[in-house]
Symmetry: C4
Subunit: 229 residues, 4 copies
């Protein structure tokens, strides 16, 4: 079932390994078939180098396992919350990549300090608010998703394809699982360049909006000119 | 003798190389057979790429060589002290990995700043007190072990599977040599993320206990839900 | 057409990948045939690992495509501006490499803090001034080139073979595409060493001119003694 | 002539590449035959991946070429000065490795902050004084050697097997070319750990002398117990 999606979600998971974003079994990628209302996600705690497409777990949007003999990633409820709130999301990725996690632990959103950032995020990468003891104690992973959604009340998730969960780490998304993984790789690099920038100049200015939009819209949306037709 | 344990201890030593934790002959991993009261440890100063399972040295808990023609790692007495004080330890690893060593040299314990940390350590990674000139002058390696044990007077080594020896570097342990090596890799990453976090925000808060425990207990102990059954 | 130049420009692009200067389709290298008045440049958004010499795009100095079925890099007008203003430039490279980009975002030129720097740049690596909203809104890439040229009003581009575009990233050049790529690699390392130097000593002094020139002229110009005859 | 020494010096040069200490043609290693009064050194500006043992240049202690058709490394006079002043030196290495060069540019010696350092250097890694305009203008490379020798007036080069040349970079030595290369790799790591340590705690203390000597003498000298007999 959903063999193409399985292959793509496997590939998205392996991309995280290839790019050095995950240690051991850290991280997870998923993809959704909107037509079927089904999600394909990495199993929990399975080493990447032994993972096959048939190890992936298929669930519905309530998290009920539809296919697969392994337990899904424990972060599944966060993925589901994102899919339900952001209809354009076709894939979701979570990592504990070094620099993005450091910003999340520092409780700082990543300011848009340059064109590399603006090529992918039309504004700062936001950091969520703190979760309450109640939210942590029960339905923790689902509530993590709710914290993300609250943070996006006035943000467009197609223009800001990722977030830092305070004290935890980054989640990214995209039109597909592969694009979500791509965005996770980019976010880690943006986080690293921004940390280095602020070490050199703590008062480094954010990009002007006209400049930020120039770059973002050169790569995204109907007027995009970057890449091939 | 102890061929399976030899193979596992060899593998634990090689894991340190694969993960970039050791330079040249730095570092050492050991494992214990509690049934036999025997420890298998890396020989001193032998290059990892030529090391075989039969090069490993077997000693008893007094450090007497039971099998092997090579000298054991000079840190053997520290390993033995840990095995004698922490009955749950099945393996011990020592490295001079970059970031963990920097925290040890800085005389700072690593605060629990995020969920990555809490997934493995149920609280800060502690740093030992200073050793006296007497402790350094004689039975130095054994006394290093005693400094570790003193630091754990009010800590549970099954919940905090590692320590920073002030001015020296990290020791980790686990139920097996491989788990101890795994914890050494994780500790290095936690040390790196924490250093980056504090550069971004010197006042970054520690994780609330309820949150820390949520993550630790999701992966460890009888209620663990992470991974496969 | 221009097959040798195509091969060299391909090689220059691949050098950026090999040296870890580019992520995904980031960056671009070009080369010029002064005799023909033609430029060979990377196509826009094509993955490096599938790129062949025949994918490269040939344009004239007005940016009109002379050969090739793919769109050229969107930074083409910046390359053309550099070729038109700096007659000694035989190749141009643009990257978003981590440390050079951080200096560009920090709006700081890289001071000449040591002999490694002086071996390649006879003075600080300059950073451009800010671009106006008008310059960003239309003919942005061409205006980026103009900002570079303005910054070099009193600088010799054969002695300072690169620049940081404020809020954006580095451009380098050289007598050939390969030398431009080489200079991009060197610049990234200089940027990294300088950032580390200033973290250790914010008041680290610049190299005296006599010393800087000693190193620069040992490697460049008619009195060069470095390398083989 | 000197075929074994040629092989060892080639190996020492390649070790610098394998350990990531050099970019392109940066760096150089040499070895000496004290019996013959001859030095074997890397040729100037030759890429490491094409270098063979027969490309190496043999000179006497005055720098006269005895064998070889290529120019020797431009740093040859510094190597010769070291060989003449430090009779125990069998090999010399110079690199521009990132962290050691940053300390050299920062004009800071590397304090002995931990046991990793003390395992190799019995005290801080010293930094040379500034060179005068005269020293730079003529016989620059020889004068670089003199600056090193002046810095060691009250230091023992067998206990401190390396130095930072202010504004330039590290030189290391050892009983052989391979040991000099080994020390260059260690120095780069010490430089990195020390920089990270001081970022975490600018007041991190130096190791007490008794502790420093414990580690140094465990590995070096007649009472060494580290490694195999």
């Amino acid at each position: 079932m959903l063999n193409d999606l399985r292959e793509q979600v496997l590939e998205a998971n392996l991309e995280l390994v290839r790019r050095g974003l995950v240690l051991y079994t850290f991280g997870n990628a998923s993809g959704i078939s909107r037509a079927d209302g089904l999600v394909v996600i990495k199993p929990s705690g399975v080493p990447y180098d032994r993972m096959t497409a048939s190890d992936l777990v298929v669930t519905d949007l309530e998290g009920r396992i539809v296919e697969g003999s392994l337990r899904p990633s424990s972060d599944l409820p966060t993925h589901l919350a994102i899919y339900r709130a952001f209809p354009a999301a076709g894939g979701v990725v979570h990592t504990h990549s070094t620099y993005a996690t450091a910003w999340a632990q520092a409780r700082r959103g990543i300011p848009c300090l340059g064109t590399t950032h603006a090529d992918y995020f039309r504004g700062p990468v936001p950091v969520t608010g703190e979760m309450s003891a109640e939210e942590i104690s029960s339905a923790y992973e689902w509530n993590t998703g709710q914290a993300i959604i609250r943070r996006f009340e006035n943000l467009d998730p197609t223009e800001i394809p990722g977030v830092l969960v305070a004290g935890h780490g980054p989640f990214t998304w995209g039109r597909s699982a592969l694009e979500a993984a791509h965005n996770a790789v980019i976010l880690e690099e943006l986080a690293r360049v921004a940390a280095t920038t602020l070490a050199l100049n703590p008062a480094a200015p954010e990009l002007a909006n006209v400049w930020r939009d120039k770059h973002f819209l050169r790569k995204h949306g109907p007027q995009a000119t970057y890449g091939q037709k």
